[in-house]
Amino acid sequence: MGEKTHKDSPENPFEPFIESLRQQVEDQDPVILIGVIVALAVVVITCVFLKYFLTSKTVQSAILLVGLCDSGKTLLFIRLLSGKFKRTQTSITDSSAPYRAKNERSSSWTLIDLPGHDSLRFQYLEKFKSSARAIVFVVDSAIFQKEVRDVAEFLYMLLTDTVISRNAPTLLVACNKQDITMAKSAKLIQHQLEKELNTLRVTRSAALSAQDGSVGGSVYLGKKGKDFEFSQLPMRVEFLECSARSSSKGEEGEADIESLEKSLAKL
């Protein structure tokens, strides 16, 4: 016996403690034992669940309709969902509805129409940007020339946002209001926006930091040293023309949103 203990002690110095634990556990009432085991199991399961819920990525299934004020987002939203025409006013909250493209194979997305007014757009963008699978940027093609700097600034804000540049959702620039005769073509708008964003890269990086020291949007667009082009972006960018209001018949009649629907079906 003495030799055994002598042999055991260098191998397993914790042996006496385990022995005493075992004796204590056996002494205990089995009901309490079961209770302790159940409690431990619950704690472990809760931890697993929490970990699963907290670290799971938000599912990206939203298509956001963004753009300046009066560019036709709400009417496009209505046309895509129901094909009807309704009068619209300036939106002050977002509207969302499930959308399924006409193509049979496509999955169901949530179409979200965000207000375009300057004081509201960033609040709503913050709310929805992480769940965006695609962003439809609506541009008023008729008055584009006057608004080109505002359009470019909004687009710049979108593209340099950290969340959006990380997720890289598809960007569809819809040049709306093509039914008006003076509307610019998608190619022209793309060209002008590339030039503006090129200039904005310089001025925005020189902008003042905020009063608490934070600098907004540290993502650099495109490649340094070369002129900015939309092909340099990590996300797929597509320019298309559409018209939420039909050209000839005024309010009634089909809207020309075929290209938009096709692109949405390709997602």
Partner: protein, 613 residues
């Protein structure tokens, strides 16, 4: 009589509209203007708005996220409109409850709202009710009170009472004239009888205010009860030496000897943090104490859908209003903001596990962020480049009251512009204050030494255009701009003299300078320390610029420079006051007196500092 009536959702879809007979213009424009200037700028306190020839009244339905707008000609005064909107709202809600209750917009899109007949009925009712109130006919003599009184009661005898049934007038024992004793006795008895009757009636009726019987000694809240405590003669006489020692002993523990030796300590933020912790602890204690008392009531309020009413929000809004005022937001603006938030939340259904306080706080925070977000693009460098491409200088004018930091911030802004490669001409249009021109010259010299001309193409980056003192500021500005155009300067910064907003001739002179020279940007420089004065300053400045401008589109203040931001800790309310009044963005924030102390505004940080307890 009505021009139009629309019902649309907050998401922008028009559910139903009505256009009055003979009205051809679309109402989309005026309604959009209403939304942009009233609802989005949080001026929702009063519910009417005028746009050109139309007067618009609106009502928000926060439960179903709808907006009801009615428009009529400004010259008509229709009295039934307010009640009419309420009736229409209730009717519409009851009728279309099913369609409206769904959160998604699909049902809204697919359903048609055939509301015309109900609407025309309500309109007819409202119009008739306004006509039906005929003027009240005059009473005839028989109906009046005077015919009810007896002649005897109206006889005024000297020393007797006036026999009217009014609140007790004391019967005076006045001089008795030489009249019949019997008549006097009868009159006195009659008077006392009436007096007692009047007293009884007075007890039954609501009491009318009585004059005090005698002059009562006024009692103050904090006053002592007697004068004995104020008599220190005994103490002074007996133990004068002891008394002095006592006084010293009282002060000693507070003053720590040797703590002020050496350099002064810098301002640090530990004290404020401690204060915050104490406040939080106190709040928690209060909540725990109250919780047990109204536990079931609290639980009921937390769980389940409950719609907010004005009374629920009132105490929270009071607290928020005081909090905002404590943070240096102007008093009217704080109350207007709270009214607007109340209107936005009235009738809204709260989600589960949200308290009234948290909903109101969240709504207030959202509206503050909304106010501080600029309503137009603010990118000065881009605009300067645009002007550069058009071969004209970009003119910025600084105006404000005395001593806010115009010249200092002008120097900071010119430093920033030089760093970005533009050439700057400073126009010294402050021809009044002694040393103004020399101050700008010193800045010019320093800036040129920091960015020597050799590095920038041989031309000095900053030049000063001055014509000494006592000349007309508008003329100097015009010459400076012409000089800049000739010499191809990129930016002209015009420094004006500080002036009080009440000083009419000086305000006229400023308005003339701006109207004549048409600068690209008119910046109002305001210090962050200002409180309620900000409202007055901005309103009067804008007023003066609008009045003296001669054109139909006057140049008003385009932007605000908020200076001395480092002097306020977290009492950042001046930012809110200024943006709320003008609706213009804060373009620069000055945080010190060196050239690097120029920042831009971060709306979220300011709002969180404002809402911090």
């Amino acid at each position: 009589m009505l021009d139009f009536f629309t019902i649309f959702s907050k998401g922008g879809i028009v559910l139903w509209c009505f256009q009055g007979a003979g009205v051809t213009e679309s109402f989309t424009g005026p309604v959009n203007a209403l939304i942009r200037s009233v609802i989005l700028q949080e001026r929702g306190g009063n519910n009417s708005f005028t746009h050109e020839a139309l007067s618009l009244k609106y009502k928000l339905d926060n439960e179903f996220e709808l907006i009801f707008v009615v428009g009529f000609q400004k010259i008509l005064t229709l009295t039934y409109v307010d009640k009419f909107i309420d009736d229409v709202q209730l009717h519409f809600r009851d009728r279309y409850k099913n369609e409206l209750e769904q959160k998604g917009t699909l049902k809204l899109l697919n359903s048609t709202f055939a509301f015309e007949d109900a609407f025309s009925e309500l309109l007819k009712l409202a119009e008739e009710s306004s006509k039906a109130r005929s003027p009240v006919p005059m009473r005839s003599f028989k109906e009046s009170e005077k015919s009810q009184k007896t002649v005897k009661s109206m006889i005024e005898t000297k020393g007797g009472d006036k026999g009217k049934e009014q609140g007790g007038k004391k019967s005076k024992n006045t001089k008795k004239e030489g009249e019949c004793c019997l008549l006097r006795v009868v009159v006195r008895m009659f008077g006392s009888l009436l007096h007692s009757v009047a007293n009884v009636l007075q007890l039954l009726k609501s009491p009318k205010p009585q004059k005090p019987k005698e002059k009562q000694k006024r009692v103050w809240d904090n006053a002592g009860s007697s004068d004995k405590n104020l008599d220190y003669s005994d103490k002074n006489g007996a133990g004068s030496g002891d008394g002095e020692k006592n006084l010293e002993a009282q002060f000693d523990p507070r003053v720590q000897i040797n703590s002020m030796k050496g350099d002064l300590l810098s301002v640090d933020y530990d004290s404020s943090e401690n204060g915050e912790e104490e406040e939080e602890e106190e709040e928690e204690e209060e909540e725990v104490g109250g919780g047990f008392g109204g536990m079931f009531g609290m639980l009921k309020g937390l769980v389940g859908s409950k719609s907010l009413s004005r009374d629920d929000m009132e105490p929270v809004l009071e607290k928020m209003r005081d909090h905002l005022i404590a943070k240096n937001v102007a008093a009217d603006i704080a109350s207007q903001l709270c009214d607007s938030v109340a209107k936005k939340l009235e009738g809204k259904v709260m989600g589960t596990f949200t308290t009234v306080a948290s909903t109101v706080k969240q709504a207030l925070q959202d509206s503050l962020v909304q106010i501080l977000q600029p309503k137009r693009r603010v990118d000065i460098l881009r605009d300067v480049m645009e002007a550069q491409s058009q071969r004209r200088p970009f003119v910025i004018t600084f105006c404000g009251v005395n001593g806010v930091g115009k010249s200092t911030n002008l120097a900071k802004i010119s430093y920033w512009l030089i760093e970005n490669g533009f050439s700057v001409l400073i126009a010294a249009c402050d021809t009044f204050r002694a040393g103004a021109v020399e101050q700008l010259r010193t800045h010019q010299r320093r800036l040129n030494s920091l960015h020597p001309p050799e590095k920038h193409g041989g031309r000095p980056v900053v030049q000063l255009y001055e014509k000494g003192y006592g000349k007309d500021a508008a003329g100097i500005a015009m010459e400076a701009i012409a000089y800049a155009r000739n010499q191809a300067f990129d930016v002209v910064l015009v420094d004006t003299a500080g002036r009080m907003q009440d000083n009419a001739p000086l305000m006229t002179a400023l308005a003339k300078l701006i109207a004549v020279n048409m600068p690209d940007l008119v910046l109002f420089v305001g210090e962050a320390l200002v409180g309620n004065e900000a409202v007055d300053q901005l309103v009067k400045f804008n007023q003066a610029l609008a009045d003296h401008s001669m054109s139909d589109k006057p140049r008003l203040i385009d932007g605000i420079v908020l200076t001395k931001f480092d002097t306020i800790d977290d009492k950042v309310g001046a930012a809110i006051s200024m943006t709320y009044i003008t609706g213009q963005p804060i373009v620069f924030v000055g945080t010190g007196q060196t050239y690097n102390d120029l920042r831009s505004l971060n709306a979220r940080a300011v709002v969180s500092a404002l809402m911090k307890a």
